[in-house]
Symmetry: C2
Subunit: 237 residues, 2 copies
């Protein structure tokens, strides 16, 4: 590749952004596939998610290498440096999303034979769609450098958290109804929790992207983390 010397910093950063977009697309596919595999007990599809995670890890490694080489060679100043380091961070969150999708896929065998009640599988499916839309939307808005849209998108995470709390409660009732549901429901609980955490990682990406574009932090007090920790308390003691 003889083009090294003539490319600009901006062009090289675009190459890094392209990897972010690829990772974002892959993350979306993995989340959708893992959930589908879970709800239809599709083991081969679950296997594909597991092997997709290897591709995800390789992409992150490639991005890291490119980003570090870019910094070392171009010695960028504050603003550009923030963009490159921001990209490294976003790739880290996308890689974590891949891990979480893989973890869902690995539970397909454990949930396996148990038939998930219709209303529950619809809830999990709709939560997965929300999470998928949230992740893709944020990555798209970052690539398009649309800071205002990112600020709005962040609010989507609250809806995901509310959905998660509803699923959490629904799962508890199934467990209480019949102890034979407990093992499978516990795995579904972790799957729902993973989806909720994927939403948190998408929020991290939005915050990072916003910072890269504007140099400003989004206000810290966002609706965050697991509501069941608090709402559980209310319904308990």
């Amino acid at each position: 590749m003889g083009e090294h010397i003539v490319t600009s910093f901006g062009e090289e950063l675009e190459g890094v952004d392209r990897l972010i977009r690829e990772m974002g697309d892959l993350a979306g596919t993995m989340v959708a596939d893992a959930t589908r595999a879970l709800l239809s007990s599709d083991n081969p599809l679950a296997q594909r998610v597991v092997s997709d995670d290897t591709i995800m890890d390789a992409k992150q490694r490639e991005l890291d290498e490119r980003a570090i080489t870019l910094i070392a060679r171009r010695q960028p100043m504050a603003q550009d440096l923030r963009a490159v380091i921001g990209a490294i961070r976003m790739a880290g969150d996308l890689e974590r999303i891949g891990d979480l999708a893989k973890n869902i896929a690995k539970r397909v065998g454990a949930v396996g034979q148990t038939t998930t009640p219709k209303s529950l599988s619809q809830s999990i499916e709709s939560m997965a769609e929300m999470v998928h839309a949230q992740t893709s939307g944020i990555v798209d808005r970052y690539v398009a450098r649309d800071a205002a849209a990112l600020k709005d998108l962040r609010a989507g995470d609250e809806k995901i958290d509310i959905k998660y709390t509803a699923i959490f409660r629904e799962l508890l009732t199934y467990m209480m109804e019949d102890p034979r549901n407990i093992t499978a429901c516990t795995h579904l609980l972790f799957c729902a929790k993973n989806l909720e955490r994927i939403g948190d990682h998408a929020t991290n990406i939005a915050e990072n992207a916003y910072y890269v574009m504007t140099g400003e932090q989004l206000p810290i007090n966002r609706p965050k983390l697991d509501e069941t920790a608090v709402s559980g308390a209310a319904s308990e003691s």
Copy 2:
């Protein structure tokens, strides 16, 4: 501070390392306190963990600022650059450990009145100690630049995973025994899972630290993630 001009890159990097160590100490305290608060239903202690997390976030932000300023001003070459970016990553993992400890602390109210069976609380306590020792050990070995010890320490995560699987199974039996245990046990399950994830973040730190020191990646195939996803499958269908 007029010393800026005379300090060396190495001295400035030491300042960043000092912050890593402070964050590591705080992470250890938060894990120990959160677990103690959980097992003794100590709400004020849980509150302290929540406010410690604000300090943790501030320290991470300070480290990030310092690291980025250091790169921008010193324009370090490959090896030094890797060290600074490695520090940014390690701080990210330590901040996540703080979040997870905070999440345990926030569940204290939800588990609250239920008395945790002695054998279970001993298991959780011993898991927390393992996780604490693992995290401190790794941060210490990084600060001492002891790559060989880091490689060995990584194996400790496997013991944590085994402990987690045992606690997972124990919790399932309590839930099956009496449906009134389900809500509290579900929260304890997430707490144990959080400890397991803290172990994973400690492993990330070890891998990052190793890479910073040697320029080499530790082999990828480490014992990792949640064994229950697989062992659950075996005991199920």
